[in-house]
Symmetry: D2
Subunit: 236 residues, 4 copies
């Protein structure tokens, strides 16, 4: 594990944007799975500026959503809607470069990734409960590839999703499991703010256990963890 | 450059077969460009035995012909005919895993390779004139990507081809150029027999010049050269 | 995980020997941690033949013992004695290329490996109890780097060691932990014979848990598992 | 070749600084050869800021000067003096992490690099005459490893050096040759300003010839070229 502790969110975002840029600009197909959400907001703004400032062939990168949550009466799920709003649309990523994981194709998706030559880079955040991608405590197991979690209206997960969208949650969530993520060539995990300090301590220096799903990531030989000082404040 | 000098052709062939096997069995798509011809004959026999003896998912490798010579009134060119006979058919490689370079598509082929995520391994021989793939002295230039050489019935190249096939040579040859080959992740060059000793000396220890096209290969950071003792006999 | 199931031990050994040979012959320093024991016996015989048959600069590889068990009144521990007998001495590996993990230096060893530029290749076997290196069920934890296990004369581990050597076991065992091994660039796990079939099934297709230490290895992005058919017989 | 054309020198410098930072922060020994001179001035300023802002173990990188020009009555040569002033001193790089190429040890230096596990990253500029490192037209040859060029007081090279230092030039220059540089795992070439536009056109789109030494670099499979718009202005 490579650990970078930055003084602030801006520096974290600049470095992370450049890591993505360096992969994107490889002169061959690269497969990128980049997270939606609050943590990378500034990363993608800087990445957008870079794309305006830096000329290269942008057509060789393919983009993968690493999880999806179905929504009632919606063609697209929660993750894909967010990625389009936050990443694909603002950065001008074309339809033919977007690979879509859904509740329909998830059983074939590990095979598809292998046929696409594997994932080159995965950018992830971490939840306060230790989840990465859709790997929630109690629901994930380290040996899982791409898998499905049913959503039950009484469950905590359902309520969490409900609070994050104006739409009604659907019946299921699908996600790249630990096995899928650990097969990627390079992983980047970012976390910012004091709210993440406790779980970062657990994930990076506590036991590697399924109750803290992100703890497994530090066994990947090419993991980079980038934290601001607040998120790192409980590390020794 | 990594140089292995083996006592005999059998050892050379075993090692080379295992190099190919290790790539082929990656659990993701790999792109292999393997030479036809006399030098790898035993390599492919051993590889065929390995495929019978070793179980793995063979469907993830794609095979590229790195050159092609058109033939009059023949659907397939000289290289593809040889590859089918010597490699694809005996090893049971399926049509959907065979990528075909032709005189029709060569101008788009560097782009295609990039879109396919690049070449993972190229296995080449060397000609007594120093050629590799279809890069002949007088016809190649180090900066060429995939390119075309017209065949002229009075030319030496034409006569060379004529002697190698019962068919009538066509109008052109296409080949991965030095730039295309040097972009691959890993290169393997094999040579056997005393007849190759002089050109091996020139290619591996003489000046790096277009008159000895294969001399450029030793600037690749992941080149393995495997020689039997006869082919290595003029190296100091 | 790349899985190769070979018809027999001889093929397994040839392939494994060539994997080691290809690393050893890199034209730069490489760091290899190769297991002692019964499983690789034929591997090292073939590797010895290769070294006689294949000329290359052998001086650039450094060899690491990934565990050590102290013995009373012996300068060298059990692992180093075995490695000298089975690998270093027969293959003519020189003193200056042998890096030694001991009960004295283990606390500095993760740092040392990093300063040496990391491990390029680790070759391991698997115990019937699921151990790899010295990572025994009940004694290991996935987050451990190089660590120490005290040997207690009443313990099962002590008795196991006692049965494997004419010497009296010492006070401790040290071993590369899961974190150390998972940081290596490439892992190879070999297993042969029906006696390993049950644990191979558990390690490769069961849950990833500390009670089956080797189960963690399949989360490494560059793991190759090579089994003979007997060892693979309980995989689906 | 990966080509990035940036709108301005600041963006070029930020990206280049982050490329170096990402290597430097690997959690294992890395070997970096970074150029002195005007082009990377802002790169190193930004890198210095990053080192203040970003916490990581800085002790694992080793720094190599890729050329040296001896000076009369000076312990250190021209390059090392510049590197100390521009890079090593301002960035707080410790003596034990600085590897020194001199006119005394150059004949052993390719061997030393191999024993050190190879170069991970080389950052270079380009001269208006097409030189990279100390590879000048008329003086270099593509097959050279680390080599020596005698300085003759009547020569152009001597006068060039004289104009760049208050000291008297010594008898010789030593430099990593094309073979040494092409063996590195990753290359980065930067160029800025209109004065470099003509040579960039020649080096990146003209013939690959020893009269334009830097033209050879584009045959490296992991070369990144970063230009500002002025330097790229003559590319089509």
């Amino acid at each position: 594990m490579k650990l970078l502790v930055t003084q602030n969110y801006e520096t974290l975002s600049q470095i992370t944007a450049d890591i993505i840029l360096m992969k994107w600009s490889e002169n061959r197909r690269v497969n990128l799975a980049l997270t939606a959400g609050a943590s990378p907001k500034r990363v993608y703004e800087i990445l957008g500026e870079r794309l305006n400032q830096v000329g290269f062939d942008q057509s060789l990168a393919h983009f993968y959503n690493f999880d999806e949550i179905t929504l009632k009466n919606q063609e697209l799920g929660l993750t894909m809607q967010a990625l389009i709003d936050e990443l694909y649309q603002p950065l001008g990523i074309k339809k033919e470069n977007i690979e879509i994981l859904t509740a329909k194709n998830y059983q074939e998706y590990d095979k598809k990734i292998a046929q696409d030559a594997g994932l080159d880079l995965v950018l992830m955040g971490i939840g306060e409960d230790g989840h990465f991608c859709g790997n929630m405590p109690q629901f994930t197991s380290f040996e899982y590839g791409v898998y499905r979690v049913p959503l039950e209206p009484e469950g905590e997960l359902y309520r969490l999703i409900e609070s994050a969208t104006p739409h009604t949650p659907g019946d299921e969530m699908v996600t790249f499991g630990p096995q899928t993520i650990m097969s990627a060539k390079e992983l980047v995990l970012i976390a910012t703010g004091e709210k993440k300090a406790e779980i970062i301590k657990q994930a990076l220096s506590g036991p590697i256990i399924e109750d803290v799903p992100a703890s497994i990531l530090r066994l990947h030989p090419n993991l980079t963890v980038i934290l601001d000082e607040a998120a790192a404040s409980q590390l020794k």
